[in-house]
Assembly symmetry: C2
Homo-oligomer: 349 residues x 2
C-alpha cells in the first residue's frame, strides 16, 4: 500500500511499473521534432472517420490497443481504464472505449488527465486492489478549436500567448512492479486560481497550479530540483514555463535547466507557427508515451517528475467573466527500484 | 486492502464508513415526498447567485461544507475530493470547490458520479493510502436543460419518457471503519451501449448498464436479490426501471419489490409533472445522502446495493447520430460489520 508522505504526496511501497505505452499523432506532430518517437502517425487528421469527434475517439481506441499489443495483453487482462478528454461530456474517451468491455472510470482534469489517470492507477495497483490498469487521454486540434473558441472556418487570429492543441493520444498500462519505468510517488493537486481571465493564455492560468504542486512535492519529500534529472511540465508552453520558474524561484527552488515542457518539446516553435507551444490532453500524454518513458525505461533518465497541468475553464465560464482555475498532478518516475535502500523520510526517494 | 472477488467486484477487507453526508435541494425537491430529509432546501433556484452555473457550483460547495460541519471536520482533514457533474468541463465541481484547498480528483461518469466517487473513495481508504475522502456531485434543472436540450425559454414539449433534472447535490465523507453505514464492496461498471438513440429516453439507454453491473455483482459474490433489503438504482425512472426488471429476469434474477429508483423516490409523479421521474447527478446523490444513508446508519436497511447510472451522451454526439452509451457503478452498503464472520467466497457478504 501507499504511505502518505507529508500532506499531499503518496509514496509507493512497491512502486508499480509502467508496463507498456503507446503514442499516436497526426500531421502537425509528424512535422515536429518528436515525430520518430510516435508509435502511429496518421497524417490524415480525420483518421478515416466522419467527424473530428469520432477521429478523437479513434485516437484513444488505437492508443489503448497499441499499448496492449506491445505486451500481448487483451482487454480482459485490465482491471480498469482511467480515461477522459477535453470534449464536452468526455465523448472522446467514452465513445472510443465503449466496445472494449474494460471497467471504466471516467476522469476530468482537462490537460492534467494523463497525470490524474497515472496517479489513480499507481494508487490502485500499489494498494493491491488492481493488478493492471490503463491511463489514456487525447486531444484533437479541430474538436478543441470548434468547442472552445470559434468554428474552424472563422479563421480568427491567434495571439502570441495562444498554444496549439495537439492531435494525439497517449496510453500507458500500469501494473505490479517488474521493471522500469517505476512510479515511485504521486502528488495530487489542489485547484489554484490566481484570477487569470485570458482564455488565450492557458500557460499563465496553469503555472500557479504547477508551482504549487511541485513545491508541495519538494516539501513532502524533502528534496530539491537537483535531486531529479528532469522536471517535465504538461503544457505550460513558453509563457507558462517562464512564470513557473519565477514562481518557484520566489519559494527558493531554482529549476534552471532541469525543467522542460511537453508543449515546447512536441513542436518546433520557429518553423511550426504554434506560438507559445503545444497544449491539450494529448500533448503531455503523447510526449510522455513517445519520447520520455523509453528514456526512463533504459536509464537515460534516472529520476524525473511528470507534472501535467490542466486549465479547468469552459466556454460558458469564460462568457460569464470567470477566471480560469488550474490544477496539476505530479508523478515521480524512476529507472531505479531502490525501495530497500532509500531513507524513510528524506532525500533521493 | 481490497480483494478482488470474481472479475469486477472489490470486497473491502476493512469496510470504510460513510462518516457524514449532506443533501441539498430546491423548490421542486421541496414539493416532493423526500423534502423533510434534506439538510438544506433553498426555494430560490438561483441560490442567490448570478447564473444557473454559479448556482450549481454553490450547491456542491454548500453540500461539502454541510457534511464537514456535521462531524466538525475542516477541509484540511480531507485527503482528496472526488467530484464531477454534468456541465461541460465539469465547472459545477471545479468552480464550486476551487477555494477549498482539498486535493481534487475530477471525475466524469454523468449521473453515475456519486457511485464512481464513492467507489474510488472506498478503494483509496481501504487500500490505506487515504484516511478521509469526499464524494460529491450535483445537477441543476436550468443548467442541464439549456446545455442538453433547448434554451429554457423555448418551452419545448417533453415526451412521457423524459425525466426531470433534479436541482440538488449530495456529498458523502468516507473514512476508516468506525460505525455504519459501511461500504462492503464496489463493482466498477463497463460501458454498455445497446443502440438507444432517443436523448429523451435516458432510462432505456441506462438500463442495460445497470443490469450488466448488477448481474456481475451477483455473479462475483454468489448472491441473489433476496440477499439484500434494497437494490437502489440511480435514476432510471419508470421506463428504465421496467426495462431493468425485464433484462435481469432474462438472466434469472427476479428483482420484484427489492428494487427502488432514486428518480422515482424524489418526486411524486402524480402531482409534480415530472413524467418518467427525476434524473441528473444530483438525483441519486441527494436521495442517497438524505433518505437512504440514515436508514442504513440506524439499521432500518441492513444490506443494500446503490447502483448509480450514467448516460454518456453529449449534445454533439446526439447531433452526429450516435447512440447513447450507459454506465453503472455499484456500492454495497451495510449496517453490519460482519467482516470477521462472513464466508470467504459466497453469500451474505
Amino acid at each position: 500500500m501507499s504511505s502518505k508522505l507529508g500532506k499531499y504526496t503518496y509514496r509507493m511501497d512497491n512502486p508499480p511499473s509502467v508496463l507498456a505505452y503507446a503514442a499516436i499523432g497526426s500531421k502537425k506532430e509528424s512535422e515536429g521534432p518528436l515525430a520518430s518517437y510516435f508509435d502511429i502517425i496518421n497524417e490524415d487528421t480525420t483518421f478515416g472517420e466522419k467527424s473530428w469527434e469520432k477521429a478523437e475517439s479513434r485516437l484513444q481506441k488505437d492508443a489503448v490497443n497499441k499499448a496492449l499489443s506491445k505486451i500481448q495483453l487483451s482487454t480482459g487482462d485490465i482491471d480498469c481504464v482511467f480515461a477522459g478528454d477535453l470534449l464536452n461530456q468526455c465523448i472522446g474517451a467514452t465513445f472510443g472505449l465503449r466496445e472494449m468491455g474494460i471497467p471504466f472510470v471516467g476522469i476530468y482534469g482537462a490537460c492534467s488527465n494523463m497525470a490524474e489517470g497515472l496517479a489513480l492507477s499507481a494508487l490502485m495497483v500499489d494498494g493491491g486492489a488492481m493488478k493492471k490498469t490503463i491511463a489514456v487521454t487525447s486531444s484533437h486540434f479541430c474538436t478543441a478549436e470548434r468547442q472552445y473558441r470559434f468554428p474552424l472556418e472563422y479563421g480568427g487570429q491567434r495571439p502570441l500567448t495562444a498554444q496549439w492543441t495537439v492531435t494525439g493520444s497517449g496510453a500507458a498500462i500500469v501494473g505490479e512492479r517488474v521493471s522500469p519505468p517505476y512510479i515511485k510517488a504521486v502528488t495530487l493537486g489542489c485547484i489554484e486560481d490566481l484570477g487569470i481571465k485570458d482564455a488565450n493564455n492557458m500557460g499563465a492560468a496553469m503555472a500557479p497550479a504547477a508551482a504549487a504542486t511541485i513545491k508541495r512535492f519538494f516539501e513532502d519529500t524533502c528534496t530539491v530540483p537537483d535531486n531529479y534529472d528532469l522536471i517535465l511540465t504538461g503544457d505550460l508552453g513558453q509563457v507558462g514555463s517562464d512564470l513557473l520558474h519565477q514562481l518557484l524561484e520566489r519559494e527558493g527552488y531554482h529549476l534552471g535547466k532541469k525543467q522542460a515542457d511537453c508543449g515546447l518539446l512536441i513542436y518546433d516553435r520557429e518553423t511550426q507557427d504554434v506560438h507559445a507551444g503545444g497544449s491539450g490532453c494529448g500533448c503531455s500524454a503523447s510526449v510522455l508515451c513517445s519520447y520520455i518513458l523509453p528514456a526512463v525505461k533504459d536509464g537515460r533518465i534516472k529520476n524525473m517528475l511528470f507534472v501535467a497541468t490542466g486549465a479547468l475553464l469552459s466556454p460558458t465560464s469564460v462568457q460569464q467573466g470567470e477566471s480560469i482555475p488550474g490544477i496539476a498532478h505530479l508523478i515521480h518516475l524512476s529507472a531505479d527500484d531502490d525501495t530497500k535502500t532509500r531513507p524513510s523520510t528524506a532525500g533521493g526517494m
